[in-house]
């Protein structure tokens, strides 16, 4: 194994992996984090900690990731290129590693115009693919981006995102190949609701042989309401929610709508699990962490395996 994180151990031993997501609080309240940790514990092999997601200020991902480590839940720290130049990125990586973080998701990051400080200056010194290269060189060569040796390496299990539903569709698998060649070990995709289109994407990915070089986790998530379904279907660029999903939510009796959202999520998990090249699921239940345990239970994803971790691996 490259790093010896629990996530890497689960994936490399051939188990169908489960990751979940925890959004840090819009404040310094530790209780919120503790509550969410307990909702996700035992459901997921690792839990993503978002980094100022949708460009809205929240507690920093490294601090929250560290709190997870302390509580015995393995984090996947997300890092975007929007708010940091190459100095800050590398500094934060060293700090996160020293605090026990072992999995990293490398993102370009949502543009600040969508967030709560649209007046801000953006950075984008690097893009996600260049960030992956930086993290891989840290691990494989023990050097900073400028080639200078590090005093004590930072060895991360390197994740990247992929959106099979953004345009141009034909270029998406080739762009995934760029992420793999940059050094990505695992991929977490955008939320999948259009399973046939995702199947076609995965077919192309497998034709390129990428599924043998990288673990691909399909992004899934429960929809809470008709409004949320419609909003995602019409107003979120790069999201593909078919009309039939919106209809299913609409037709469900009002008091059963959240159940229907969970039903759809469970069905999508069962369908993507059958698609060649899919190594796991990434469950994004944004501000609805309560739903994750039920989804995992009903999709037959529990209990989570306890893979043998190498000697000296992180907690």
């Amino acid at each position: 194994m490259k790093v010896g994180s629990r996530l890497e151990a689960v994936l490399s031993s051939g188990h169908f992996a489960v990751t979940a997501e925890l959004g840090p609080p819009k404040g310094a309240d530790l209780e919120v984090i503790g509550r969410k940790i307990e909702l996700l514990r035992n459901c997921a092999d690792a839990v993503n900690i978002t980094d100022n997601q949708t460009a809205v200020v929240r507690m920093c991902s490294a601090a929250v990731a560290h709190i997870l480590v302390e509580n015995g839940v393995e984090p996947v720290m997300q890092m975007t290129c929007r708010d940091r130049n190459r100095l800050a990125i590398q500094a934060d990586l060293l700090g996160a590693y020293a605090l026990g973080v072992r999995n990293l998701l490398c993102l370009t990051g949502d543009h600040q115009s969508f967030g709560n400080h649209p007046q801000s200056k953006n950075v984008y010194d690097l893009d996600s693919i260049q960030l992956i290269q930086v993290v891989r060189r840290m691990r494989e060569e023990g050097v900073f981006m400028n080639g200078e040796p590090m005093e004590g390496g930072a060895r991360f299990f390197i994740g990247a995102a992929a959106n099979p539903f953004a345009d141009p569709f034909e270029f998406r698998p080739l762009r995934l190949a760029k992420k793999v060649s940059a050094g990505a070990d695992f991929i977490q995709t955008q939320l999948v609701y259009n399973v046939p289109k995702f199947r076609e994407y995965m077919h192309r990915v497998c034709d390129l042989g990428l599924h043998e070089k990288v673990y691909i986790l399909a992004g899934v998530g429960p929809i809470k309401s008709v409004g949320a379904a419609r909003y995602m279907a019409t107003s979120v660029p790069g999201m593909d929610v078919p009309e039939e999903i919106v209809e299913r939510m609409r037709k469900a009796p009002k008091e059963k709508r959240t159940d229907e959202g969970i039903n759809i999520c469970v069905e999508v998990i069962q369908q993507v699990r059958e698609i060649p090249g899919v190594a796991g699921v990434h469950i994004m239940a944004i501000e609805w962490e309560e739903a994750v345990a039920e989804i995992c239970e009903r999709a037959g994803l529990l209990p989570r395996p306890s893979p043998q971790l190498p000697e000296g691996a992180a907690k």
Partner: protein
């Protein structure tokens, strides 16, 4: 060319303050071409300032004039008499022209009458689009002649990001996604290999991040 937009009249008046003699100085090059600060715009603005002063009962004389290239000291020398007559000069040139006037006539304050916006091209009559950020290290040969630094909201070198949909940029859907354009152009040229390789992180020293830039041409120095 440099593209600019005239400031609102109310803002320009506030910049003039209590000045009695005002010179509106157009520029015959970039801001003339983008219809923000040529002879016609200088004349119109001067007339508007005169009418406004009259309505408000302010004692003020407003003249207008034009310099062919306000960004060059040689050219702004031509308006010395009018410049020294004025208490305040309203420059309708880009930010370069306004600064050259302040440098050439330090005893007079020249204020900006336009907002200098970007380096761009007209895409239809009256519509101008940004094309270049003058980063100092051109890579258009790698990206099908389409600049991702100026035209991608994230200046990505390995795009498109997940927000590209129906050929549009999620940050402003009236703009095309630069990386969709790059992909299509390279596909049509049969040169997709140019973006199949990872474009490395950029050296921003040649851009404004390296501090104020200067070009020295030893071969033509006097």
């Amino acid at each position: 060319m440099i593209r600019a937009q005239q400031k609102p009249l109310v803002e320009i008046e506030s910049l003039i303050g209590q000045a009695k003699n005002v010179l509106v100085l157009g520029c015959g090059t970039c801001t003339a071409v983008c219809l923000a600060g040529g002879e016609k715009e200088a004349r119109t603005l001067a007339a508007a300032l005169r009418v406004s002063a009259q309505i408000k009962g302010v004692q003020r004389e407003v003249r207008h004039s034009l310099v062919q290239r306000q960004c060059e000291p040689e050219f702004v020398r031509e308006v010395e008499e009018e410049a020294l007559w004025a208490d305040v000069i309203v420059s309708l040139a880009c930010g370069i022209g306004c600064q050259v006037m302040n440098e050439r006539y330090p005893e007079r304050l020249t204020v900006p009458g336009v907002n200098t916006c970007f380096l761009g091209a007209p895409i239809e009559h009256g519509v101008f689009d940004e094309r270049c950020q003058a980063c100092g290290d051109c890579i258009l040969h790698l990206t099908g002649g389409i600049c991702p630094i100026a035209r991608c909201a994230k200046s990505m070198l390995n795009g498109p990001c997940g927000g590209s949909q129906h050929g549009k940029c999620e940050v402003n859907p009236s703009n095309p996604c630069a990386w969709q354009l790059i992909y299509e152009r390279l596909l049509s040229l049969n040169k997709l290999e140019l973006i199949s390789a990872i474009l490395p992180a950029k050296d921003w020293r040649s851009a404004r991040d390296g501090g104020q830039r200067r070009i020295v041409r030893e071969d033509v120095r006097l």
